[in-house]
Symmetry: C2
Subunit: 342 residues, 2 copies
DNA sequence: TTGAAAGCGTTACCAA
DNA sequence: TTGGTAACGCTTTCAA
C-alpha cells in the first residue's frame, strides 16, 4: 500500500496542500514546516503519484521518443542517440516513453491526444515525411532529429551532412586524388527517402565540382558481400588513373567493401582511398581502421534535448535556431593515401 | 484544446459514465447508444486522457523497461530485445517507458513508487544483483531477462546458456576435435558479474569433461586488436595437436580474433575451429562468416512479455514456468573443421 | 505563512 | 440498459 500526500500531511501535522507546496516550491514555506514535511516524506518513503500529478498539474514529465524500429534497416548506431536522450531526460527529471516509427502518425496522435507526454523527439525523418505536418499541428512541442524538405515550423537538429560531404571531398582533393566515386545507398534506403541521403549527395556533387574532381555515384548498392564484390570490381574498372578516392556514406557498406578490396589485393590507403560516413566506434574496430566522418550522435541528441527543454520553458535561455546543424569531425586513420611528396 | 469524455457525452446525448462504459466494455450497452457514442468520439477525434484513466482505474497501461545503458560495454545486440518488447507492448495496447540501468534500484523504486507503470522488464541481470531483492519487494510484477543466483521468486526468462555451451562443445567433439580453448570475458564483464558468464563457463567445463576433451579458459581477455593478437599467439602455442576448437562467448571478441588468426595464416575452418556466441546477424556479416550459437533475443523477449502479461492477467492462460530457458540454435558456417573422413 | 476546497478527466459503484 | 456521483491523489485558487 503506497502512501499519499495526505498521509504525509497527517504525519507532519500540516494540511495536504502544504505538502504539495513543499514539493513544488511554488510558495514560501517556513523552515520549520518544511523540515517536518520532508521528515514525514522520508519516514514514509513517500513518492508522488505521477498520474495524479499529471492530471492536476497538466505536466506529465515525460518525453516521447519516436525511434526507427520496425521500418527495416538503418538501426545501426541508434543506441548512442537513445542513450544520450535518456540520460538528458533524467537530468531534467523527465521520463522517456518509447514509440516506434512503424506506428507512423498514429503514434504521434496518441502521444499528444492521450496526454502521454509533454514533448516529443522524432528521429529518422524522411525528406518528404507524412508525420511532419501532423507533428507540427500537435498540442505538444516536437523536435526533429533530421531535416525534412519542409520542417513546417518545427525545430530540427542534425549533423551537418552538407559539411560532412565537403570535408570528405576536401580531404581527397587535398591529398591529390583525381577522381571520386560515391558508393551510394541501398534501394530501400533511397525509397524511404531519408532526409540526409539527399543532403549528403547534393553536397558531394557541388563540392566535387568546386574542387574540379570528376565524380561518379554508384547507386543503388545492395547489402552483403556479393554486392560489395561487384562494387569493388566496378571501382577497379573505374580507376583509370592511380588516385581514386571512394566515399561510402552508408555504414553497413564500408566493411564489406574493404574486405572485397583486400581480397583483390588492393590495399586501401596504398592503392586506393576510402572514407566512410559512420560512427567512430565502427571505424576504430574495423580492420583496417578506416578514415571516417563521424555522425556525432551524442552531440546531436544533446542539442535536440536542449532545444526541447527550451520549448518547454522558453524563459530559461535564449531561443535555439530553428535548424541546428552539428559540425561533423573527420578522423584520419589508415585508408586514405597521403599526398605524394614531389 | 482537447476534448473530454464529457464532451463526447454531450454530443452523443448520453451521460459521461456511459461513454466510459462504451470504452471499457464493462457493462452491456445497447447497440443504438454504442453507435451514437462511437460516432461522437469519431467526430471529436476524442482520445482518453491517460493520466486521468490511470488515476481512476489504477492501471497505467505502461510497461517499464530497464535497459543496460550507462553501465559500460555490452550493449551489443540490445536493439532486437528492445524492438521486440516494444512491439509486443503495443500489441497489448501498452506503452513502454525506458529506464536506464545506471539508475540502479532507485529507478525501480521510482517506477513503482510513482505508479509510472503496471509491470517491469529488467535486462542485464548480474549473478549477484542488488536490484533483484528490491524488484521482488515491489508492488508491481517484475520479469527478469537473465537468471540471477537467487531470483527471489521473480519470473526469469533467458537463453539456455547451459545448453548453448553443451551444443558448442558437442559440435567440436562430434567433429573430432581433441582440445578446446574458451576465449573468455573481459575483466570488466567479469567484474560486473553478468549472470550468463558463469552459467556458460560452468556448463562448458562440465560438458568438456563429459566428452573427455581437455579444456583451457583464457581469461580475462581485453578488447581491441592487440589483445586479439596476443590471444591468437596463445592459441597457436596451445595447439599441440592438429585439431583445436576455440569457443568465443563474447560477441565483440570474435571478429578481431578471426582477423588475428588470418594474419598469422591460420585459416579458421581449415587449420583451427572457432565457434562464437553472438547474434546471427554478426555471424553472417563477418568475413569469414563464422559458426555461431545464437542468443535468440526475439524469442527471449517475446516469452518475457508473455510471462509479464500473464502476471498482469493470470486468468488468461496457464502460468509460465518461474525460470524459462529458450533453446539456442547452432548455425554451421565456415569456421569449424569438418570431421576427417577416414 | 498556512488551510480549505475546487478542480483535473477518468473508473466504478449505487440506484433507477 | 442507463444516469448520478463518489472516489483516485494531486495542483492551485481563494481566504484567512
Amino acid at each position: 500500500m503506497a502512501f499519499t500526500s495526505k498521509d504525509v500531511a497527517r504525519v507532519a501535522g500540516v494540511s495536504q496542500s502544504t505538502v504539495s507546496y513543499v514539493m513544488t516550491g511554488k510558495r514560501p514555506i517556513s523552515e520549520r514546516t518544511r523540515r517536518r514535511v520532508l521528515d514525514a516524506m522520508e519516514q514514509l518513503t513517500y513518492e508522488p503519484h505521477s498520474s495524479a500529478r499529471a492530471l492536476a498539474g497538466r505536466r506529465t514529465q515525460v518525453i516521447g521518443l519516436v525511434v526507427p524500429f520496425g521500418v527495416g534497416g538503418e538501426v545501426f548506431g541508434l543506441l548512442p542517440f537513445i542513450e544520450t536522450i535518456a540520460s538528458s531526460a533524467r537530468a531534467h527529471d523527465h521520463e522517456v516513453l518509447l514509440v516506434t516509427a512503424d506506428e507512423g502518425s498514429a503514434g504521434l496522435r496518441r502521444l499528444a491526444g492521450r496526454a502521454l507526454c509533454d514533448a516529443i523527439i522524432m528521429m529518422d525523418i524522411q525528406e518528404q515525411d507524412d508525420r511532419v505536418p501532423v507533428a507540427a499541428a500537435l498540442s505538444v512541442p516536437v523536435v526533429l532529429i533530421g531535416v525534412p524538405a519542409d520542417p513546417a515550423g518545427l525545430h530540427c537538429v542534425d549533423l551537418d551532412f552538407e559539411a560532412a560531404a565537403r570535408m570528405a571531398v576536401d580531404e581527397l582533393a587535398d591529398t591529390q586524388h583525381d577522381e571520386i566515386v560515391v558508393v551510394g545507398y541501398t534501394a530501400s534506403a533511397m525509397k524511404r527517402g531519408l532526409n540526409y541521403v539527399g543532403r549528403f549527395l547534393r553536397s558531394v556533387r557541388r563540392q566535387a565540382q568546386v574542387r574540379g574532381l570528376p565524380l561518379t555515384v554508384i547507386e543503388p548498392v545492395e547489402r552483403g558481400r556479393e554486392a560489395a564484390a561487384k562494387v569493388a570490381d566496378q571501382l577497379l574498372a573505374q580507376r583509370t588513373s592511380g588516385r581514386l578516392g571512394v566515399l561510402v556514406p552508408h555504414s553497413d557498406a564500408i566493411v564489406p567493401l574493404l574486405d572485397a578490396l583486400r581480397k583483390r589485393d588492393v590495399v586501401p590507403g596504398r592503392d586506393i582511398s576510402v572514407i566512410g560516413l559512420s560512427p567512430d566506434r565502427e571505424a576504430e574496430l574495423s580492420d583496417p581502421q578506416y578514415t571516417n566522418v563521424s555522425e556525432e550522435p551524442r552531440d546531436v541528441s544533446r542539442r535536440a534535448m536542449e532545444t526541447l527543454f527550451w520549448l518547454l520553458d522558453p524563459s530559461s535561455a535564449v531561443e535555439p535556431p530553428a535548424i541546428e546543424l552539428v559540425a561533423p569531425r573527420l578522423t584520419r586513420r589508415t585508408t586514405v593515401m597521403p599526398a605524394p611528396a614531389h
